[in-house]
Amino acid sequence: MPESNEREKAGAPAQSAVARAVKDPVSRRKFMALTGGSAAAAAFLAACGSDSGTTTTTSTAMSGGSSETAQFGKGDIGILNYALTLEYLETAFYADVVKSGLFKGADLATIKKFGEEEAEHVSALTAAVKGLGGKPAPEPKTEFPLESAKSVLELAGTVENLGAAAYLGQAGNITSPEVLASALAIHSVEGRHAAALNTLLGTSITPDGAFAKPATAKEVLKSVEPFIVS
């Protein structure tokens, strides 16, 4: 192929000017602007016919850069640790729900299954952080209001929809194609969970319409703050 993939270059040892540019998030954005990245953005935003609200959210998420996950580590490690924190939260939530005794039968089976999948995400993300030479984020202490089956399902729906939006918000910030492939494989599973819970709740499976909206790390962390004790 005449034109190599910049993501591949970013992970390659050869340090061409382009590879260096795409490795550095700031230069990378400049590079994208030079090579038509901004034209592509305009194209998609126009193509989607999004309302101004969508446009704002999308551009915020896109331009936020990986710096918004800097508190979790640098670059891909920070993004993975941010995701890991969310997956810890989801895993703990489902474990608490199973213990609460609020669900039986098919609903309980679904909750258990989703919880197991979140636990697998925790393991995979932990391994990925270690693989990149980083230190996995610690498991947060959590507390969830578990009053009734209905309120728990609503909370589950909120958490899963938020989780899917969180992954979507980070996709463009990821440098390594391997990390991106892993994040995408998890992202769509979070989308599946969200749609299944929305179905149980009798709400729309696609609350954002035909194009799912991303969420910034700032938005997501603020939403989950009430459930993190320490």
Partner: protein, 212 residues
């Protein structure tokens, strides 16, 4: 797929055999699932991704056109299903919504390809072999799951961050569709912790039988 199987690094090599013979559609999808399952071992997905990159190495316009073909398929499928699937009630409204979403994906991809200076592919003619609601639902599940895997497989090859964001916002909707259709089929909405990814050749092989 068990925990142990996922952690097996050998899985990363499974997809290598994809071109070796006359695999059935379900075989092809299974190979993709195994390859993606290898993601479980830290970066075992690496060889798979690199192989996919080496195999197609298309431009973003090529990838968008590939996605457009799939969206044409889904859009036509649901449009026809409004009358052909013999659905009622909840399923009928679901079909209407799915048809609308897929049509919007077709329009967005077409416009994006044009704005990037590319030429959108022509809409193929399709032939969907089913005669009742159950047959429709079975095909719908295959198409939605394949769609998710196709976007997930193409994602790491996308060069523009903005096109990647766009593809991401579509794939999440496809995953939501897949879950809803699976629930209609009384199947697990999210059968695996990691959605498999398929490369272009695998996807084309999966949809080929429906292109007239």
């Amino acid at each position: 797929m068990s925990h142990e199987e996922l952690a097996n690094p050998e899985l990363a090599g499974v997809e290598v055999v994809q071109d070796s013979g006359d695999l059935s559609r379900s075989d092809v999808i299974l190979k993709g699932a195994l390859a993606a399952g290898a993601v479980y071992g830290t970066f075992m997905v690496g060889p798979y991704v690199r192989k996919a990159l080496a195999m197609s190495g298309g431009s973003d316009v090529d990838i968008l056109n590939f996605a457009l073909t799939l969206e044409y398929l889904e859009s036509t499928f649901y449009k026809e299903a409004k009358t052909r699937a013999k659905a009622s009630g909840e399923l009928k409204s679901l079909i209407g919504m799915l048809a609308d979403d897929e049509q919007q994906h077709v329009e967005a991809l077409t416009a994006t390809i044009k704005k990037l200076g590319g030429k959108p592919v022509a809409e193929p003619k399709f032939d969907f072999p089913y005669s009742n609601t159950a047959g429709f639902l079975k095909l719908a599940q295959t198409f939605e799951d394949t769609g998710v895997s196709a976007y997930n497989g193409a994602g790491p090859m996308i060069k523009s961050k903005e096109v990647l964001g766009a593809a991401g916002s579509i794939v999440q909707v496809e995953a939501r569709h897949a879950a809803a259709i699976r629930l209609q089929n009384k199947e697990e909405p999210a059968p695996e912790a990691f959605d498999p990814s398929l490369d272009e050749a695998q996807v084309l092989k999966a949809v080929e039988p429906f292109i007239a």
